[in-house]
Symmetry: C2
Subunit: 359 residues, 2 copies
């Protein structure tokens, strides 16, 4: 087991990484409060791992709340169902929520933990690659609004993140690949060495070689923690983590949050943003092709579907929360391994890059 | 105009106190961000003061969102209407919300400001005495759940609080008196001199003498700021501010949030808690009578209505968020001007004090 200490200004918490962690009782008891425990999971992950976790927590005053699986259920209504459950079990301020599942489970139960009685304890047990490398660091919680992703939420840091890498064994290929999109992102924006390592290790990764996966998760968590530490409330450098996300969010909104997994939309968004960077001369030629090739190695989509309503996407981009009043704020590449915040793209530049990304 | 600097660990902000502040443009522009502005008010306060405030903010990209008046509308549904409005006006992270109204408007728009895009700027313009002396310091925001008050919410400090004391001229007597309950509370828990001043100044206060009101608001804000500063997240001494609130909340819940104003329920709750303190020998005899007399001077109710379902109240108390697992945590008096957190009351003690408080 590895322990990565995430040190933030106001909070510090450990991320544990290894096999069989769902059954290590001491780890869990160390980080749970004294009160009641609500495990929030979904109907896909729950049947696989709930037994192991509830056995580990035997003796605790514990309930399980199961959500339907899927980004389309990341709504105020589902969130309010978690709140109702906390109320009906008479959870108090000393209660804890454990999120057992992917990013959707984590985001919604995190926002429930942030807002129930103005904040209770929150433990993350991410079971997808995406949640392990992305959602477990940063404290972002939230739900979608019909007009935009994550428009409602809070910053709420977990007490701990416990990553049992065994859970990746049952993760279906499409979900695994979607997680790889965020992994590639860390290389693209911040770490040229890691990007090259991913190119060299693609075959081992696709075979889910345990050592390669451990290395990949650890490097991703370290990269993200490093960026978040510099900027907990996302005013500056942390924005780089949104590389590919403005286009990705717009595409998700335009396709009703049902066609693409988040990571798939981000993969397409990163290629679009790289293309815009190249078109504007910010980044040397060839970066887009190299990024596209690596993403395709992980079977990720890299083009906007031909039937997408581009006017709708443009409208969705205006509302994206990464924007500020003065112009659309995008993360663009300087090179593979370095990115910047940019607000100088014209609407024409943006539409051209999107059109060139059409399938 | 007086300026009270509220100094908290993570945030510091000024509370301005005086006449005609709604029309002092420089004050408002100094604290608003660069983005769009949403004024949230209600259908009673709005018609009285919205014109003045929107004139003051002429030139701003501004919208007004009007809520129905009353604690019974302090729900997730009303809150989600504010969120929808922010979305439809395409508010971004640089937007500000101004709460123009009483505690309900402040609590709900504060929670909207806390959770829209994980937090935008929030300015308070409290127009009731209760909101001026209570809600303007502490950063508590939230909405009610059908099973308990303020079960959903966040801590979100305002950028500033602007108290235009002219707004008290139009405040109806019942609302004014309800605010006096919280004012009396500061004396009872923390400031024997202020308690005595209130007894001596009751006549001037009831005539709404401007100097008496200014003194009363300033002393209340200073008392509350002093307590909050010691304990921003309500783990210790801040709990004293809940004097009378556990019983008050239970009574409000049991009567559907429609029979009593918050301050009225707190008045009854304080008398019940004082009685419990005396019964248990924690507080010298006579304190309950003196407290009751002062509250009655301000025309506040001091008894639980005869037809109240006491079993329902007992059940509501169990869920009250001021409770922790080990027993009902209540604020009890050591004397008039000093209070303590106590968890040693038996169910019998508590029921007895409630029964003795029955009308």
């Amino acid at each position: 087991m590895k322990t990565i200490d995430v040190q933030l200004a106001e909070n510090a918490y450990p991320v544990y990484l290894g096999q069989d962690l769902l059954t290590q009782a001491d780890l869990w008891h160390r980080h749970l409060g004294t009160g009641k425990v609500l495990i929030v999971s979904n109907d896909v992950v729950g049947p696989l791992y709930l037994d192991a976790l509830t056995n580990t927590l035997a003796g605790r005053d514990l309930e399980v709340h199961t959500l339907p699986d899927g980004e389309q259920f990341k709504t105020l209504e589902t969130w309010s169902g978690i709140i109702d459950r906390l109320v009906s079990m008479q959870a108090r301020r000393d209660a804890s929520i454990i999120a057992l599942g992917g990013g959707v489970v984590g985001d919604m139960s995190g926002f429930a933990a942030a807002s129930y009685m103005r904040g209770i304890r929150f433990l993350q047990a991410p079971t997808t690659l995406l949640a392990q490398v992305d959602a477990s660091v940063g404290g972002k919680t939230g739900v979608n609004h019909v007009r935009g992703k994550n428009l409602i939420g809070a910053f709420h840091q977990p007490s701990t993140v416990i990553i049992d890498t065994n859970t990746l064994n049952t993760l279906e290929a499409r979900e695994f690949n979607a997680g790889m999109a965020e992994v590639v992102k860390y290389g693209a924006i911040n770490d040229p060495g890691f990007f090259a390592w991913l190119e060299a290790s693609a075959e081992r990764i696709n075979k889910r070689d345990p050592d390669a996966l451990n290395e990949l998760i650890e490097q991703s968590v370290l990269n993200k923690a490093d960026i978040v530490r510099q900027d907990e409330k996302e005013a500056g450098v942390r924005a780089l983590l949104n590389f590919g996300h403005s286009f990705g969010h717009a595409l998700e909104a335009e396709t009703g949050y049902s066609k693409f997994l988040h990571g798939e939309a981000v993969a397409i968004g990163m290629v679009t943003a790289a293309r815009l960077s190249e078109n504007r001369g910010l980044c040397p030629p060839g970066a887009t092709r190299r990024l596209k090739t690596l993403l395709q190695t992980f079977n990720l989509p890299v083009s906007i579907p031909a039937d997408t309503d581009m006017a709708g996407m443009a409208e969705a981009l205006k509302l994206d929360k990464k924007a500020v009043a003065s112009g659309l704020r995008l993360i663009l590449l300087n090179s593979l391994g370095s990115a910047q915040v940019d607000q100088d793209s014209s609407t024409e530049d943006i539409m051209q890059a999107m059109n060139e990304s059409l399938n």
